[in-house]
Structures are given as structure tokens and as C-alpha cells.
Amino acid sequence: MSWVHCNKCFAEPNENGVKGTFFLTSCSHISCQKCYESSRNVCHTCKKQNIKVLRIDSSLNKQYRQYFVDISRVIASKMEEMGKIRKFQDIQIQNLVKGTLKFQDVVKKSQEMLKKYEIEHKKLKKENQELLVALKKR
């Protein structure tokens, strides 16, 4: 990225006479190797103490590497990720709805069967009572 430069001396990577890697500080400043070595734990730009640094090269982790990449690539990759997540969650939700409808169907059928059995049960109870009465009379 052509905007990368040492915030102290304005040296740019790949410029003539500029040696070594550049560093990203924990206070979000950029430093060339020379300026970093001359100030170490203190940020030469904002004077913050006990700063930590990361090398700006291929070892930089995914989260910080994003800062040095074309922003449209970052946006495209986030959109792709969101698309995948949404697609997966949509399928799961559809499945849950389908399952719920099935359950509702099962419950409805069970209730209908229960009603049928209740009617049958009433009938049999009545029949039973009539038979008992008939038996007693004998």
C-alpha cells in the first residue's frame, strides 16, 4: 500500500536506502526499523509508554493485516462471510418451521383420535351400565 510510511521520518518501504521491516505499534502508529530501534518501548509519534509492536509483513495476523489491504477487498470478504452465515441460518430456520408444522399436524391428528376414543369410551360405558342393570334384574 503506497501510503505506508514511517510516521516519524517519512521513510517509505521499498524506497532507496530504506532497510528492514516496518512496524505497527499498539497505539496505531507506523515506524521504520531505524526509528523503532532508536525509541523502542516509547512511541516516537505520540510518546506513549510500554508500547507493543508487530512486524508489518506476512506474519501479521488476519485481524491486523486487514489494515494494509485495499478496503474494497475487506468489504467483499465480509459480504461473502455474511452471505454464507445467512444462508446457513435460513436453512436451519426453515427446517425448524417445517418441523414445527409437522408437530402441529401430529398434535391435531392426536387430538382427533382422542376425541374419537372419548366418544367410543362414552358409548362403551353406557353399554356397560345398561348390561349391568340388565344383569341385576335377572
Binding site: 500500500m1 501510503w3 505506508v4 510510511h5 510516521n7 517519512f10 517509505e12 496505531s28 507506523i30 486487514q66 489494515y67 478496503i71 475487506v74 468489504i75 465480509k78 462471510e81 455474511m82 454464507k84 452465515i85 445467512r86 446457513f88 441460518q89 436453512i91 436451519q92 430456520i93 427446517n95 425448524l96 418441523g99 409437522k102 408437530f103
Partner: protein, 132 residues
């Protein structure tokens, strides 16, 4: 994992105190009971593919855990990251640009001074030539 839609794709059991869920690489979710009955791994009974599984809990690997986030939270987090990146890059661009403009102005005034000096020298040489 506090997502409201999670359920076993095989027996449809919903979350409860003791239930554990697993996700397969074919994208299906099953509860511990169904996994115990070998209904998800080694072969997924839903899509009939060979499947490997991981338990869905707070230790789930980052690249799978993201499928269980609230998508709006993910979008907001992404926007904040993008904003931070743009701020960082444009701050640096502006600083470098300002430095380069200052450098150009310096060079311009040096150039003007040099051409003024050259004109003066040329005039003096001409005078010397005419007086000798």
C-alpha cells in the same frame, strides 16, 4: 450458544439444560442422543454424506463459531472494523500527502532561488565580458 433457532435436525429436540449439539461438515446439526445412535457421523442420515462433527459450545473453532452469531451483530462489528481501517488508511494518506506537498514547495523555492542565482551569475559574467 444463545441462538434461538438451534435444534436437532434429526429428532427436532429443542435446547434444554442437558442437551448437547454437534455440527457436521455437511452443515447439519444433531443432538447428543442422535449422535450416540450414529445418525450424524460417520454418515449423515439427512444428506447421506460421510461426515465429521464438532461439538457446538463456546470452544468451537472460530471459523465455525461465526455461523452461530446474530447476523446483525456481525454486520455491525464488520462496519466498525471497516470504519477503523478507513480511518487508519486515510489518516496515513493525508499525513504522507501533506509531507510530500511540503517537500515539493521546498524544492520549488530552491529551484526559484537557483534560477535567480543563475540569472545573477549570467548578468555578472556578461558585465565582465563587456568590460574586458
Amino acid at each position: 450458544m444463545a441462538c434461538a433457532w438451534i435444534h436437532c435436525n434429526i429428532c427436532l429436540r429443542l435446547p434444554s439444560a442437558n442437551i448437547r449439539y454437534f455440527i457436521s461438515n455437511c452443515g447439519h446439526i444433531a443432538c447428543d442422543r442422535c449422535v450416540g445412535k450414529k445418525l450424524l457421523t460417520p454418515k449423515c442420515t439427512i444428506c447421506k454424506r460421510d461426515a465429521k462433527i464438532e461439538e457446538i459450545n463456546k470452544d468451537l473453532r472460530e471459523d465455525l463459531r461465526k455461523y452461530f452469531v446474530n447476523i446483525h451483530d456481525f454486520a455491525i462489528k464488520s462496519f466498525n472494523e471497516i470504519k477503523a481501517i478507513i480511518d487508519f488508511q486515510s489518516k496515513n494518506c493525508r499525513r504522507l500527502m501533506k509531507h510530500k506537498v511540503e517537500k515539493i514547495q521546498e524544492l520549488q523555492s530552491t529551484t526559484i532561488k537557483h534560477s535567480e542565482d543563475a540569472a545573477t551569475i549570467a548578468k555578472l559574467e556578461a558585465q565582465r565580458a563587456s568590460s574586458s
